[in-house]
């Protein structure tokens, strides 16, 4: 047990970073004003001063949290250690608020931040869902509504990216037998840059908000309030995290697998993480570019998307969706990999068609680059272009189908048990099935002309997001909870979370799809009572509250169980995967004192006498953790 150690607030990296960001932004704003005066312009102009100033604030945050420290030292010719010890005068929990090079700490940091943003975006949703429950405006004016839906969208996207960062960062090194990621400092940098980025995005609320939704189409975004710039800059910064994190995953997987871990003997989640990272590494630049072009149109009058200045509004949409479509495959591929990872453990039989599943993730990543204009069927691009994009979009259904059929094959003739992680895995399959099957009507252009920009689309993409990320993410959190904390979560509360969230989600989604078909448009804060949607809207709102409650129960469960939960066995799920063969808590640098080699297939459950990994160490496993 740690004695109660006092912590100086200012010694925490997160706090130092935020203070540096605020001060740095103010100094940055002054700096921009000075440059303007030297150029003969009036000192104050809200846009350039805020944009330039807060950009500097992002850099100063990173300096304050220490993300540049080792690199500055190298520039000065000083040595640094690859294995910094945690400060012994601080309690154990403080390490999660500081810069750490340990991928397991970074994974938890990503996970907690993801859940925080999930709660924030969920709160935004409850606010506007409460307004929407009845026709006519009750309390939320249209301007505030527009900002909240836009923020809900982008904060949820950030929450998803961070949740994926949590799973990939924590698991990939452990799964391939590495002691850490290939580039630990880059890993820490990529995590911490999300904090100032998220603060910028939320700051948009205080600078007039933005009325465009997260898709930020010009000309509307070119004339939106100042909050729009905070949104653009924040997303720009968060995007960099995706790119750098992706690089790390790919290099770690290629270069740091342990003996015997050839590509088709890795845990399947690693394939999913690599496919995701290939997209993240190469496509993210396009959203940054498209946003930067609108920022420059606003700041410097460059008329990229201004029809009065030689610009074309459709160009933005091509550039934006070239990233944002592959992005949705980033959102779901890890979760689908998670489903593949957990089904064999709880069915006690092999993953059906491992190689086909591994290749299907790569195929989805590849085909995903060729479909972006299906978001633009009504946008006014060349009419004939819509047809090839329809064919390519329909094509994605094929590798996705391979996954579903393989999952059925994995369950078939198994010996299935249903603890909470398995419930969430199975729930994920059914919800993602709903989402995936409601895709083809959007892909065939003619039907999309009716469906585009309605609640049918809202139902479709929430189903793919819940099925492809939310449910699998909770499955992963429950499953690895004992590995990360050494304690078990409360199983009754876990099941309650599931049995509240699954039916509520189905109701929410189906009701949204129904009113969408009947004429309910997206992104409107009020709707005509004559449409008769009041009851459905109320049902959707109630479902939303139930989902929020269910997730809150989970957070409480994790919070209490992490401190007071029953001490867990080292391998409660009887998994063959290497991370479960380590003692509790997982030693610093993982397998350095507990090396292993791969001697068999990962998922040969049910094959007498077969092993996946053979631990080479003679170190006895430590007694269970405090």
């Amino acid at each position: 047990m740690d004695e109660k150690k006092k912590v100086k607030i200012l010694s925490l990296g997160l706090i130092r970073g935020i203070i540096f960001q605020v001060v740095g932004s103010a100094v940055g704003m002054g700096f921009v004003m000075l440059i303007r005066v030297l150029m003969g312009l009036p000192a104050w102009n809200a846009e350039p001063v805020w944009v330039g100033g807060t950009f500097i604030g992002v850099l100063t945050f990173l300096i304050g949290v220490g993300a540049f420290s080792d690199w500055f030292k190298w520039a000065k010719g000083e040595e640094t250690t690859d294995h910094p010890e945690a400060d012994p005068s601080q309690p154990r929990w403080a390490r999660y608020y500081n810069l750490s090079l340990d991928h397991k700490v970074i994974g938890v940091q990503y996970g907690v931040t993801s859940l925080t943003l999930l709660g924030l975006a969920g709160t935004f949703a409850l606010i506007f869902r409460t307004e929407l429950a009845e026709a006519k405006i009750q309390f939320l004016d249209l301007g505030a509504f527009n900002s909240l839906i836009g923020l809900h969208g982008i904060v949820m996207i950030a929450a998803i990216l961070l949740g994926i960062g949590a799973m990939s960062n924590y698991l990939v090194p452990l799964m391939v037998g590495a002691s850490d990621m290939a580039f630990p400092r880059l890993n820490a940098f990529a995590f911490w840059i999300n904090v100032p980025g998220a603060l910028l995005v939320v700051n948009s609320l205080f600078l007039g908000g933005f009325d465009t939704g997260w898709t930020a189409y010009p000309p509307l975004s070119a004339r939106a309030p100042l909050g729009m710039q905070m949104f653009f800059l924040g997303v720009y910064v968060i995007g960099l995290s995706s790119i750098l994190g992706s690089l790390n995953i790919i290099v770690t997987t290629i270069r740091m697998r342990t003996k015997g871990m050839n590509y088709f003997r890795m845990p399947i989640f690693v394939w999913a993480a690599v496919a995701t990272s290939i997209i993240g590494l190469t496509a993210t630049q396009l959203i940054a570019l498209s946003f930067q072009m609108v920022m420059f149109q606003r700041l410097f009058g460059m008329g990229f998307f201004d029809p009065n200045n030689g610009g074309n509004v459709i160009l933005f949409q091509h550039l934006f969706w070239f990233y944002s479509h592959p992005a949705v495959y980033v959102f779901i591929l890890p979760g689908l990999g998670m489903i593949s990872e957990l089904l064999p453990v709880f069915s006690r039989k092999p993953l059906f068609g491992y190689k086909w599943i591994a290749v299907s993730s790569m195929a989805i990543a590849l085909v995903g680059f060729f479909v972006w204009a299906h978001h633009m069927f009504t946008a006014g691009m060349e009419e004939y272009l819509r047809v090839p994009f329809m064919y390519s979009t329909m094509l994605v259904a094929v590798p996705t189908g391979v996954k579903f059929f393989s999952w059925v094959g994995t369950l078939w003739r198994g010996k299935i048990i249903f603890p909470t992680p398995m419930l969430f895995t199975l729930g994920a399959v059914s919800v993602f099935l709903l989402g995936g099957l409601t895709g083809p009507p959007n892909a065939t252009v003619a039907t999309d002309l009716h469906l585009h920009d309605t609640y049918w689309i809202v139902g479709h993409f929430h189903a793919t997001m819940f099925g492809g990320f939310i449910f699998p993410f909770f499955a992963a959190l429950y499953y690895w909870f004992p590995r990360v904390t050494g304690r078990m979560y409360n199983e009754k509360l876990g099941k309650l979370h599931f049995w509240l969230m699954l039916p509520a989600y189905y109701v929410q989604s189906l009701w949204q799809m129904r009113i969408g078909l009947l004429g309910m448009r997206r992104r409107i804060g009020d709707y005509d009572p004559a449409l008769g949607f009041d009851n459905s809207q109320m049902v959707i709102t109630v479902a939303g509250y139930i989902i929020f409650t269910a997730v809150s129960i989970c957070i409480v469960n994790f919070w209490i169980s992490a401190k007071k939960g029953q001490v867990a066995k080292d391998n409660p799920w009887n998994s063959r995967s290497p991370e479960w063969q380590l003692p509790t808590p997982i030693p610093d640098h993982n397998y350095v004192d507990h090396p292993f080699e791969v001697v068999g297939e990962p998922y040969d459950y049910g094959l007498e006498g077969s092993s996946y990994v053979k631990m080479l160490s003679t170190q006895p496993k430590a007694a269970s953790a405090d």
């Binding site: 527009n146 006690r348 092999p350 059925v408 199975l426 059914s430 920009d453 448009r521 009020d526």
Partner: protein, 336 residues
């Protein structure tokens, strides 16, 4: 083998239940256009395939949860099999064929919606924040409501004066974004098939009042439509203020300006003439003929305090000088 038979039966039952349930639920609004027929037919095919595939996967899963669950006290693992190559090939090739077929159906349906009638009526639809205007270019008049003749094709040319809007009448099914810029006009062809009153609601987020950017759509018998057209182009009144009132209705000014003192997005015209206003730069002016004329033609030239964040569309650019002068006369007539 018996497992497959049982699952097959379960899947069939689920497919029929879900498919016919959805088929009879009345998923779509009433169909009121020729072009929508191909869309509804294709959507119906989608619904049946969705019902089948959902039932197939869920059927196998539910069956497995019951038949293949670990019974209390049971030891041991599941059946050890790693895959089945012919099955993998089959469930790659067959779905590939199905999706290619649906793509082909989609292309055919799209072609149906684009069939052109050379004798179509021509209407230019102008979207502005936050109202629609309908320019009947065959007859040289404008309206704030969209009236269409039944069973005749109308060629709608869509454009915008500011940001991206989108044309959608759910009963017609088709949707098309209205874009700003020269040469960015886009087309939709609609042949209404059902008399009645519908609503056109903007379907692309266009700013603050997007939710309320709505116009009436009336489908009429051809004779009634021609009669309405006659009334619109029938000689203008001799009185300038009365003509001005007509123009404000046709050009959609009343979406933002009230005539009774009520506060809307733009300043009310009631009592506006000869009043004193403070401008954004602090100076004061008296609202006279010249100021009103300038404000209609170039709304951003001189802005009154409090209205600097609201952008009035350049509607005046579509008007003749006489029309603007008529409107000024009309505003003048709205004294306290």
């Amino acid at each position: 083998m018996k497992h497959f038979v049982r699952v097959g039966i379960l899947t069939t039952i689920l497919t029929v239940l879900i498919g016919s349930g959805l088929d009879n639920l009345g998923l779509m609004p009433v169909l009121a256009s020729v072009q929508g027929a191909a869309i509804d037919a294709l959507f119906r095919k989608h619904i049946w395939v969705i019902s089948f595939l959902f039932s197939l996967i869920i059927g196998f899963m539910l069956y497995s949860f019951v038949v293949f669950r670990r019974k209390p006290g049971e030891e041991g693992d599941g059946d050890h099999f790693e895959g089945h190559t012919s099955l993998e090939i089959a469930w790659t090739i067959v779905p590939l064929g199905i999706v290619m077929y649906f793509s082909f159906l989609g292309a055919s349906a799209l072609a149906e919606t684009r069939r052109a009638d050379p004798n179509a009526y021509n209407i230019t639809i102008v979207g502005s924040q936050w109202s629609w205007r309908f320019d009947y270019t065959d007859y040289d008049f404008s309206s704030t409501e969209l009236r269409l003749p039944i069973d005749r094709q109308s060629l709608l040319t869509l454009t915008s004066t500011d940001v991206i809007h989108s044309f959608w009448v759910p009963e017609f099914r088709l949707k098309q974004d209205a874009l700003p810029g020269e040469g960015m006009e886009r087309e939709l062809r609609i042949t209404p098939t059902l008399l009645g009153d519908y609503k056109l609601r903007c379907a692309e987020l266009c700013g603050l009042e997007h939710a309320y950017m709505v116009s009436d759509v009336i489908v009429m018998e051809v004779d009634d439509f021609e009669e309405w057209v006659e009334e619109q182009i029938g000689g203008p009144s001799g009185d300038a203020a009365a003509r001005g009132e007509e123009w404000t209705k046709q050009f959609g000014c009343v979406a933002c300006h009230s005539t009774d003192g009520a506060e809307r997005i733009g300043p009310t015209w009631f009592g506006l003439y000869e009043s004193e206003e403070t401008l954004v730069d602090g100076s004061t002016i008296t609202v006279d003929d010249d100021y009103l004329f300038e404000s209609i033609l170039d709304p951003q030239a001189t802005i009154v305090e409090g209205y600097d964040t609201v952008i009035m569309p350049p509607t005046g650019e579509s008007m003749t000088e006489e029309q603007i002068l008529d409107i000024v006369e009309y505003i003048e007539s709205l004294t306290e």
